[in-house]
């Protein structure tokens, strides 16, 4: 066993002094004076943490207790992330026996791609420490980091003893990320069992047995965030305040609107639109108002494409609108802005298709009828403010999807706009559609379409070549029932054929509950629920259909995931995956 020999000398006072001297932003108790720890003795750890012999059996009661515990650990993790060590101590019993956060012998050191090093520690061979020793080990691990960016202590499973004096055994996952003293990116992954006691309404951990403790490190980040120096920085009201409280989401589009060869960006927002024009000096300047796309705001998906075949990039912006009595429309209709070739836009009527209301999210450009005029598929979601999905697994009360067929230009070259032919094409689906992606999946020369639906199964619309589509999702193995949020095609296996990446929602609580429900529900339902909690999906093209890539191959472990992007981050010849993630993170400030 290897452990620090000077642990008794490592006092809170020293840790705090180090923190003050070397670590901007390093926390500690805001006003409290450091205290002398008790002598840090080596303690015997139990071989395992006993499971309750009279466990609470009601799933609901267990989940209530687990959730209260999980909430308590969220609060603890935030205190620890801010490095208020003296305060964090209050979550541990004075009788704590635990594996420390540092001082274990190395089991292996692995060189991973891109200069990443992974060290696995033989934590199970280490002796235990008491509460002060444990807190010292956390100080030792984190005290000198430049920033602690993320601190998660998640309850992956728990069982509780019945009776008044309640205690429980939990499966705990620890995940810490940040920037260490030398500027390296660090990530700590721990897993273990813990015993928790509820005393006077408060949870106290009194035993912690780690069986996994790994650290990954890279000397520098892969990406540098440069929004502020490039003119793209924007911040607006905190989510949940009056100015920013709608549950509809604003997208982004890239294109060369002024024909100068670099990439401009259109970013619709709830407060204003942005048209960021790329400048030669590497910055962008917002010219939305000057160039005619400043309003209306609150757009969702947006796409650049040449709708009138005049050689420049026009802009379609999705909005959420809905039918009212008397043929009127609530909300906002989708817009098409025509480019004059120099990057000045005019809000055009857009034909009958753009007079219809859609609760539009992702817009997907494709030429579904092969006539050389680009058409647009509109994902119709639902109005979350007034209606609710009528099922969690196969909701059918969403807003209809649209297929905006491009009508081309008249004899004078005037753009005629679009007509909605979704019904005739057989794809006026009323699932809660969030996202779509198009490719010629069956290689027959026409454009097919995959649509990811929330609260249900997804659709792979196979183009019949005659202006209609049939659903091939079952045959092709890409139903992917769940909460579909995003979809992209790309060759992830390096065989030349296009695979499919689908982002979904998943949750720790969902998996935890499922673990307990296993005996109470039938296998089919359990498998479905398990799928709903599993994460993203990768479907690899395998002959004439797709096959789901097993979860063990990775690449799917997101939580509430949104947009996937498939690209080669390290130029090594294969496509990697980036995926936006998370619903609403409510903290005002992060003390990075």
């Amino acid at each position: 066993m290897h452990r620090r020999t000077d642990s008794t000398a490592w006092t809170s006072a020293m840790a705090l002094a180090l923190c003050l001297a070397s670590t901007p932003g390093c926390g500690g108790d805001g006003g409290g004076a450091p205290t002398e720890p008790e002598k840090d003795a080596v303690l015997e750890l139990p071989g395992e943490i006993a499971a309750p012999d009279r466990p609470v059996t009601s799933v609901e009661a267990v989940e209530d207790e687990t959730e209260a515990l999980a909430d308590s650990l969220i609060e603890f993790a935030e205190v620890l992330r801010k490095r208020r060590f003296d305060e964090a101590k209050e979550w541990f019993s004075p009788e704590l026996v635990a594996h420390a956060a540092v001082g274990h012998s190395e089991a292996s050191r692995t060189a991973l791609p891109l200069g990443v090093e992974r060290i696995k520690y033989d934590v199970e061979a280490s002796a235990g420490v008491g509460r002060d020793g444990f807190m010292d080990s956390l100080r030792s691990l984190l005290g000198e980091w430049r920033s602690v960016d993320s601190m998660l202590w998640k309850v992956k499973g728990a069982s509780f003893q019945r009776g008044r004096s309640r205690w429980g055994r939990l499966d705990l996952k620890i995940h810490i990320t940040g920037v260490d003293a030398s500027g390296g990116m660090v990530s700590v992954h721990g897993r273990g069992d813990a015993r928790v006691t509820r005393t006077r309404g408060r949870f106290l951990l009194d035993q912690l047995l780690l069986h996994k403790w790994e650290v990954e490190r890279r000397s520098a980040p892969i990406f540098t965030e440069v929004a502020a120096s490039t003119g793209l920085a924007h911040t607006w009201a905190r989510f949940g305040t009056d100015a920013n409280n709608s549950f509809h989401w604003n997208g982004a589009a890239a294109g060369d609107v002024d024909g100068d060869g670099d990439w401009d960006l259109f970013v619709p927002s709830d407060d204003q639109n942005f048209l960021y024009i790329a400048q030669p000096d590497g910055t962008w300047s917002d010219e939305a108002d000057e160039r005619g796309v400043g309003s209306p705001d609150r757009g969702t998906g947006a796409v650049f494409f040449d709708c009138d075949n005049d050689g420049d990039q026009d802009l379609m912006v999705g909005h959420t609108g809905w039918p009212l009595a008397g043929g009127k429309m609530g909300g906002e209709r989708c817009r098409i802005f025509l480019n004059d070739g120099a990057g000045q836009f005019t809000d055009a009527p857009g034909g009958p298709g753009l007079q219809e209301p859609f609760v539009a999210y992702t817009l997907t450009v494709f030429d579904f009828d092969g006539d050389g005029w680009l058409d647009v598929h509109v994902c119709g979601y639902g109005r979350v403010d007034v209606e609710h999905n009528n099922s969690w697994t196969e909701a059918t009360n969403g807003s209809p999807n649209g297929l905006l067929r491009n009508l081309g230009t008249d004899a004078e070259g005037r753009f005629l706009g679009f007509e909605n032919v979704a019904a005739a094409a057989g794809i006026e689906d009323v699932r809660w559609s969030y996202a779509a992606a198009s490719a010629d999946v069956d290689l027959d020369g026409d454009a097919d379409l995959y649509v990811a639906n929330d609260y249900g199964s997804n659709r792979l619309w196979i183009n019949q070549g005659d202006g209609t589509f049939v659903d091939g999702s079952e045959d092709q193995g890409v139903v992917d029932k769940g909460s579909g949020m995003g979809a992209s095609f790309g060759d992830l296996t390096g065989d030349g054929s296009l695979d499919l990446y689908v982002s979904n929602m998943s949750s720790t609580a969902g998996s935890r509950i499922l673990g307990r429900l296993k005996e109470d529900i039938d296998a089919e339902t359990h498998a479905l629920l398990k799928k709903l909690a599993a994460g993203n999906s990768i479907f690899t093209r395998d002959g004439d259909a797709f096959a789901r890539v097993p979860g063990e191959q990775g690449g799917i472990g997101a939580s509430w995931a949104w947009s996937p992007a498939l690209f080669d981050v390290d130029l090594d010849g294969d496509l990697d995956v980036f995926c936006t993630n998370g619903f609403v993170t409510g903290e005002l400030a992060f003390d990075t």
């Binding site: 997907t364 979350v384 947009s563 409510g586």
Partner: protein, 353 residues
């Protein structure tokens, strides 16, 4: 389905339990939990998965520098600076942030950049599938405009060569015609026109993205700080004009949970009481921590004015036009000249002057 994924909820799991059930969680809790600064499926950071070439992935999110917790929605992966690697633009929901991630891995393994023009179908060749073979690696991409989630990609495909000196390129055009364009060498930028059979090179137009501003700051040395709004002790908005004092100003950003910040409050108070400098100390505490911040301020530096970072209001410059609260190291102190120009940026505790 997300039954309980709140992340920084400080008090109870009440809302999370109520959410289980199809009764309009979002609408009912809108303006409640989020207004309080609480999370729902929060602190779930954006993900980066590295492909091993055979379809297995390594999760590098934590080390990516692009794992923002600010609830990303749209993402565009494109070569923003024309240096040959792929950068990321992310539109985030929390505070409507725009994030631009410059890829700093370098282009040593080599790349080719491809634009397309069709002559038989849609001229932009949307839906075309391009296959590139470089050494023992093969990979295909499709030209998409509108995929992922509410994201429109740039009409340019970037292929890594993995160290190979050249690659062979084949296009499956919309309509199904397959055309070989032969070999393209490392670093090439080419336009592939349907029917031409030969790649047409075009020149690079690099526009390096400037290095980031000092972490957490939206201003640099030399920038003048225009008037901005904060909250007073009662939560009422107050406009602060650093130039109004006609004196040098120390603009200090602090938080109750930051020990060095709290420790230096008396020194800042001393500066403020001096003859040649005014101190504007702004607490960036979350609403839930503001009471603690006020207590600490009254204990440690009762003579300092109370300034709290609040939520920005439409059309009004706020402290968040000066600093990015999500990335700001604490304490940070901006030393301003009498006309409000940033002269010096102090990171960490200030020294006695």
């Amino acid at each position: 389905m997300v039954a309980s994924s709140c992340s920084s909820a400080p008090e109870s799991g009440k809302f999370a339990r109520e959410e289980v059930g199809n009764d309009g969680f979002l609408a009912r809790h809108n303006g409640q939990i989020f207004a309080e600064g609480r999370s729902f499926s929060g602190n779930e950071r954006d993900k980066l998965f590295l492909n091993d070439g055979a379809g297995s992935f390594l999760d590098l999110s934590d080390l990516s520098g692009a794992d923002s917790p600010n609830d990303g929605r749209a993402v565009i992966a494109f070569d923003a600076d024309d240096d040959g690697d792929v950068d990321l633009f992310v539109h985030e929901t929390q505070r409507e942030r725009h994030a631009m991630y410059r890829n700093d891995l370098g282009t040593a393994p080599g790349f080719v950049k491809i634009k397309l023009r069709a002559t038989t179908g849609n001229a932009e060749a949307i839906g075309a599938q391009v296959e590139v073979v470089a050494g023992d690696r093969k990979v295909s991409q499709v030209l998409s405009r509108g995929a992922g989630f509410i994201s429109c990609q740039a009409p340019e495909l970037i292929f890594g060569l993995g160290g190979a000196p050249a690659a062979t390129v084949t296009v499956r055009w919309p309509g199904g015609a397959v055309e070989a364009f032969g070999e393209v060498t490392l670093g090439a930028r080419v336009l592939l026109v349907e029917g031409a059979s030969e790649a047409e090179a075009y020149g690079a137009a690099p526009r390096p993205l400037p290095d980031p501003k000092p972490r957490g700051l939206l201003v640099s040395v030399g920038d003048r700080i225009a008037p901005f709004e904060v909250l007073d002790a009662a939560g009422a908005p107050v406009l602060i004009d650093p130039a109004a004092t006609g004196e040098r100003v120390a603009l200090n950003l602090w938080a109750s949970y930051c020990a060095p910040c709290v420790a230096e409050l008396p020194l800042l108070e001393e500066w403020d009481a001096g003859e040649d400098m005014r101190v504007i100390a702004v607490s960036v505490d979350a609403p839930s921590d503001r009471t603690r911040a006020l207590e600490l301020l009254s204990q440690r530096a009762p003579a300092l004015g109370v300034h709290l970072a609040g939520d920005p209001r439409p059309g009004v410059r706020s402290i968040q036009d000066v600093v990015d609260l999500a990335r700001l190291p604490l304490p940070t102190t901006l030393m301003l000249s009498p006309d409000g120009t940033v002269e010096e940026i102090l990171r960490g505790p200030v020294e006695p002057r």
